[in-house]
């Protein structure tokens, strides 16, 4: 899948692929066995997935992660639970290796306790963006080494799940600010947290209003419309886009319902089943994140967000030569070497040709 919709860079003098006359195969060759080879190689190497949960305290982020991966992700009590509200935003990262049916997954979950909890929440997104950019920076540094590792460890955040508090009205200014900034650097999946406090009608109205807000402020959440490859993708992703943000409920406790053991929340008026589509949309979130779009999330992170970061970074520090010539003959006077500074928020370098200077 080629998620990047950029037009080919004007400097590419060679076409991306030569003319290929299609040839007919008269018998058995065995090309399709390469799929098996791929599978074996992938299983041996294992997969990596890094997810970040962002939202205010008490919205059930840690519980949601535990529910998603059906295990106690946090070694001790989840951060933020029962502890005093931290003064500043701290990011806590924990890594696990899970295995299912021979498939090994190295899962890294980053939590953000203290987000949006202060009186003055100005620039509270800086640590988050700093963390994300730091992971990109780490990958970039590994990539430009002379002697590279065979497999560069991937700590880049593939997906950021943003928890919207269930006010029932619309997105708050804090949400909008953060989403605007986050969507430019990472794949964001917004969810309505603690959806058991809203009735179904309220949920729908809330959802529509959030979607309207997102459209008004030009916030592109995952799955981004511009990365749809073909008609099938568009149809599939439109269905998902219609339901975003998902209204989710998380729980790690099991109760007996109708003879079955289900994850749920027990209240005086009933048991909310987490995996029941009639009660909440947790299954949709899980399917999106894990069962169907995990590889796509990783691809878009690698091909789009990381490349954008790289372009910004290299442009600002003249790390690598521009174009085919190896020496930069720009007439800037030689100054002191620029040390790799703190990560910056990079602007999107997509089809908006007006705000990206042409290097060639």
């Amino acid at each position: 899948m080629d998620p990047l919709r950029q037009s080919p860079s004007p400097c590419s003098s060679r076409p991306s692929s030569p003319k290929t006359p299609p040839c007919e195969i008269h018998g058995y060759v065995g090309i399709e066995d390469v799929l098996d080879q791929l599978k074996i190689k992938a299983m041996k190497m294992g997969f990596e997935f890094n997810i970040m949960v962002v939202g205010q305290s008490g919205l059930g982020k840690s519980t949601m992660v535990s529910t998603l991966f059906k295990s106690k992700v946090w070694k001790c009590t989840p951060p933020g639970l029962g502890m005093p509200i931290p003064q500043t935003l701290q990011l806590k990262s924990v890594t696990h290796v899970v295995e299912e049916k021979g498939v090994k997954l190295k899962l890294t979950v980053t939590d953000t306790p203290g987000f949006g909890d202060q009186i003055n929440n100005d620039k509270c997104w800086d640590p988050i963006l700093g963390y994300i950019n730091e992971q990109y920076e780490r990958y970039l540094q590994e990539e430009i080494l002379i002697t590279r590792q065979r497999h560069i460890p991937d700590t880049r955040v593939h997906c950021c799940v943003y928890f919207v508090p269930p006010t029932g009205h619309c997105l708050r200014p804090l949400d909008i600010e953060l989403l605007q900034r986050l969507c430019r650097t990472v794949n964001v999946v917004p969810v309505i947290a603690r959806a058991d406090s809203l009735t179904l009608e309220e949920r729908e109205a809330f959802r529509r209003r959030i979607q309207h807000n997102l459209r008004t402020h030009c916030i592109e959440v995952y799955p981004q419309k511009c990365f749809d490859e073909d008609i099938n993708d568009r149809i599939l992703n439109s269905k998902i886009r219609d339901r975003i943000p998902f209204a989710v409920v998380g729980s790690d406790q099991e109760y007996l319902v109708n003879g079955r053991c289900v994850l749920g929340r027990k209240t005086k008026w009933g048991i909310i089943e987490v995996e029941n589509m009639a009660h909440c949309e947790f299954l949709l979130l899980r399917d999106l994140l894990i069962r169907s779009h995990l590889q796509d999330l990783k691809d878009i992170t690698h091909n789009v967000h990381y490349e954008n970061y790289r372009v910004c970074r290299l442009n600002e520090s003249h790390v690598l030569p521009r174009g085919p010539c190896w020496v930069n003959l720009a007439p800037t006077p030689p100054g002191p070497p620029v040390a790799p500074g703190p990560s910056k928020v990079c602007r999107q370098a997509r089809e908006d040709s007006d705000d990206e200077e042409d290097d060639y």
């Binding site: 899948m1 991306s16 390469v34 791929l38 299983m43 890594t95 696990h96 498939v103 590889q295």
Partner: protein
Amino acid sequence: MTSEVARHLLFQSHMPTKTTCPSSQVSDDEQKQKRENTRSLTMSGHVGFESLPDQLVNRSIQQGFCFNILCVGETGIGKSTLIDTLFNTNFADHESSHFFPHVRLKAQTYELHESNVRLKLTIVNTVGFGDQINKEESYQPVVDYIDAQFEAYLQEELKIKRSLFNYHDSRIHVCLYFISPTGHSLKTLDLLTMKSLDSKVNIIPVIAKADIISKAELQKFKIKLMSELVSSGVQIYQFPTDDETIAKINASMNGHLPFAVVGSMDEVKIGNKMVKARQYPWGVVQVENENHSDFVKLREMLICTNMEDLREQTHTRHYELYRRCKLEEMGFTDVGPENKPLSLQETYEAKRHEFYGERQRKEEEMKQMFVQRVKEKEAILKEAERELQAKFEHLKRVHQEERMKLEEKRRLLEEEIIAFSKKKATSEIYQNQSYMASGSNLKKDKDRKNSNFM
């Protein structure tokens, strides 16, 4: 076809048994995890990420695969026929002449479909290899071509705005080296070429036109070839034996190298089937018969089992080696002089300073030279001017002198004229006086004389 289905099942059946891995592997994993500061998590239910390999495969199917084969061998040894037979198509390649002065490489790309897999196959053939009388330069174009593909990829990777996933990978993934079936040993050209290629590409040697050699000779030939390769230190591609599913088959195939192959697209009726074969008066050599040739083994190894590994080796071993050498050549290092890690950027900045300083110096030099030349020219011109001035003065003086002389002459002339007119006046007076004294005849005579005189 049933063998393929069986193989699929074999692969699939091996996947779930990975959970029950032997205890030694578990402790290895644990140690690794301890080192990485991660811990293993047991899930209480089914999460569903076992579909991850399928997601990966789906993405690859959509992207399509790319495979590049380089065939090196003498003209007429059967490279095109073998490729045709391997991929069961007619790639429409005509015979090439034996009279090329230099070795050239010809690349052609084809798109093949099998079930839902799209393969973009590039075949690179050497044209004119081994035909020249002087073969010293024969292998250099091949090495240059391989390097050029690595270079193109490196350039793309180093660009600021790059599109790697869109990039048509033209790096050579495997090199099939065709050995002539002499039955004795490797030719010197073969050794030289393979030695220069072994660190740049995965080499699989094949014995071409193997129907010339008898079975007994073939065994000896293979042993001789392998021992020659080993003793010369040529590193040919070894089929990987680290994964249990294919370790056994790969290990046994490693023992059959180099494969003795026969290629043919012609079909001959054997029994009641049409098979690919070569028909001779003394019998029929069947291409896909394991007793007659190793063709099936080659196809197995090249395509069915190890295509992905070949691509991976090219990318992670050969390309990385090229990249490292190239960047080190440019002066970039990872570690600075005091053994502190040096970033690419600092080195680059240093180099930029250096080059910039160099440029400044050269500019200064040129300026100096220019000024020098100007001065010289100016001096010459001044000299010329002075000379002209002197000439002018001289001429003027000469002119002046002439003029004075002429003036002098004129003055003398005028004086003479005055003197003459004076004389004339006085002589007339005298004549008048004498005429009045002597009478009229004399006067008439004198008049007559005077009139004659005048």
